[in-house]
Symmetry: C2
Subunit: 496 residues, 2 copies
Amino acid sequence: MLNRVRSAVAHLVSSGGAPPPRPKSPDLPNSTSAPPAAPPQAPRSPPARAGSGSAAPARTVEARASFCRPTFLQLSPGGLRRADDHAGRAVQSPPDTGRRLPWSTGYAEVINSGKSRHNEDQACCEVVYVEGRRSVSGAPREPSRGQGLCFYYWGLFDGHAGGRAAEMASRLLHRHIQEQLKDLVEILQDPSPPPLCLPSTPGAPGSSDSSHLVGPQSCWSSQKEVTHESLVVGAIENAFQFMDEQMARERHGHQVEGGCCALVVVYLLGKVAIIVRNGEIIPMSREFTPETERQRLQMLGFLKPELLGGEFTHLEFPRRVQPKELGQRMLYRDQNMTGWAYKKIELEDLRFPLVCGEGKKARMMATIGVTRGLGDHNLRVCSSTLPIKPFLSSFPEVRVYDLTQYEHCPDDVLVLGTDGLWDVTSDCEVAATVDRVLSAYEPNDPSRYTALAQALVLGARGTPRDRGWRLPNNKLGSGDDISVFVIPLGGPGSYS
Amino acid sequence: MLNRVRSAVAHLVSSGGAPPPRPKSPDLPNSTSAPPAAPPQAPRSPPARAGSGSAAPARTVEARASFCRPTFLQLSPGGLRRADDHAGRAVQSPPDTGRRLPWSTGYAEVINSGKSRHNEDQACCEVVYVEGRRSVSGAPREPSRGQGLCFYYWGLFDGHAGGRAAEMASRLLHRHIQEQLKDLVEILQDPSPPPLCLPSTPGAPGSSDSSHLVGPQSCWSSQKEVTHESLVVGAIENAFQFMDEQMARERHGHQVEGGCCALVVVYLLGKVAIIVRNGEIIPMSREFTPETERQRLQMLGFLKPELLGGEFTHLEFPRRVQPKELGQRMLYRDQNMTGWAYKKIELEDLRFPLVCGEGKKARMMATIGVTRGLGDHNLRVCSSTLPIKPFLSSFPEVRVYDLTQYEHCPDDVLVLGTDGLWDVTSDCEVAATVDRVLSAYEPNDPSRYTALAQALVLGARGTPRDRGWRLPNNKLGSGDDISVFVIPLGGPGSYS
């Protein structure tokens, strides 16, 4: 039984190279014309999006103020001001009186203690309906025929260098997933193996001829069996890429300067696909940092030395090499090594190492500590014009958890949190808080998950004392933005 | 407690690119001048190596006959002929009367049933003494000062396309490890952290000035702590590279056409470093095949498309794309994806995929099923001049197991085997044979490990019946060369 699964939004991580040439998405959501989501459809907190729901072209600049919070918080202008107050750091949750979030999900957030003007976290929780693009056989869809698919969606986005990328991703990433799933609506509802090949033009004359569908019965002797699950994984992977590409296209109009990490949960047909961007202990989360992705970064620098611009070396050294050490032998490791060995110091070893530092101080190109995420298209090395984006990957790591394989009790929860939570809270402390808070409520009280999210945020924020935010043990609380989803996996009225 | 750990020689696996420019090994062993190993020093089975122990230059061609077996088998010319007999497939083990292998290691081997002229497996088991190159401080070594280091070494080498690469590796790889460890003799025996920097010229005047040693007390604010263990790992990693480079240099003289996988165990200062080239279930082994290394191969092909020569595509498709499917949409995945998605088929998708097939039939460039190993410098794509070596990696995966952390009983063994064993024998079957054979002997009877190795080889070979070699369950036995080491981890007279 899964008990208190945790995951965490985390570090953007560097990529294995520039993204490959990709097939064009036939019907890309744009930043303003995306239709509103399926229920819940609470209005987005002010300022309202200009042109929301309209068919404005993709490059239209939205007339937006500088700050917004998740729609489901239903913040009034006064509430928004309070949420934006670094001194009070009031914890925000959806109102008791409003529509409950799907699955009775709990949510709480708090702004940082002043490190940025606004809260750079964003969140999204939606039920999204996917209508098939057309029938698999290529025949035009009959309106009465075929059911669409619904998926549940939770997303946390941890922005850096501004909140625009996080805000854009929170508004649009699920639309890209919706778009990518359109092809799969019928396929996923058909128990037979997916067709390996689809006709070229949806609904084109003659394309209903099913001989165009080259299924597993093909004459080719060797072919792989592709599962339904791997199609959903592929759809989510592509959705992240299209999201990142859209940010690249629209970054000037939208002033998307920074980037964001993303932690997304998709529930579809009984399975939860968890896209993890950080985490420590529980298998469904993994950190992506210059340290954990060292070998991939080094390999890219080695294979494409032009990306290092003569300023960096792909070799790692345990500390900066000094000019007077030329000719001596220093410990190093390259992209294929996990151990260290000595090498004679040459002139180009004096360049700054692509990867350096440890732990929270680990940096790629002396600039960034996260190496996967969305955005950052304009990011350059400090006092240089060398672009960093080629090393950043927007590909998610997708893990699939089959909810139907387990019997979950009301105390089984999936905790999603941004860095603000995990920087100061251990897994064990989260588990203890889950125990303490949930046991204080009746198992069928749906408000217990919001109470838990609030307790986790408060526990990471602390209280103002001794000129700072302090935890009960007098250590510093998190000065970062803190956002937490608590998703009950076996709670009342959930996905069953 | 470690019980019946297994590991296996396996598939060569493709690399993350051509090896980087590497520091030169100051004193590379060459194929003929390597001094004989520390005890046991049984003569190598005939044909004897010409020039063994002499100082012949590295490129000297050895006058060798076409077939040899491990020295420790002490085969007479008649015994060698029997070992080379595909019809009888007699199991070979070291003679009872001879010197026992270190740690009372058991060993058994059998030739294939005819797939190649000779046994293409090779094995090596040695105790190797490492004398320091000089003192760490750079002062000339005083003969009376400082102890050298001993390491125990077991190696299995599974050749393909000829036995020369396996034979060469079995003779020289431990010499390269010895060479790489020379710098570390004093460092490893000093409990203080390793120096990050060594003086340039060993023993040069003035280099005994210890201010050249920039230790962890350096003024640089950030430096990594490098462990002794990671130095040994780095030494082993580098030794594999130097071995592969030596094969490249000497391949014409030695007619090293093929390649080999390597599975090596090094015991040094209480720890076993296990270099794994295959394996399935136990954490200390991992398979390297076109399937398991797909993303690395694809990334290399994507970043260096010239390596694909216009003949291959780095994209994977579930089956071969057919020209008539141009314009249709086919499932694919690229180097960043674990899931599958549809893409419109374009002209270049008709190229052969870099990686195709499944399981034992998985192939890289339609040619090779193993993607890491030594040798294969001349390997080309079938009916093409496209070289395959750039995709093959000679970097090992090194895992460290601290023997002193556990109390081992005489039944705790490390089983190393070549493909011939693991192709037809499951982990569970090996474990059952370990139980059965060891319990039939007294715990302090050192011959039990040879008996176990023989039983494992016999169990994989089967007996001749119905025009083939059959197992008791009537399935086909392995027609491959089969070689097995059984290393007792807590047996009598072992490493304590």
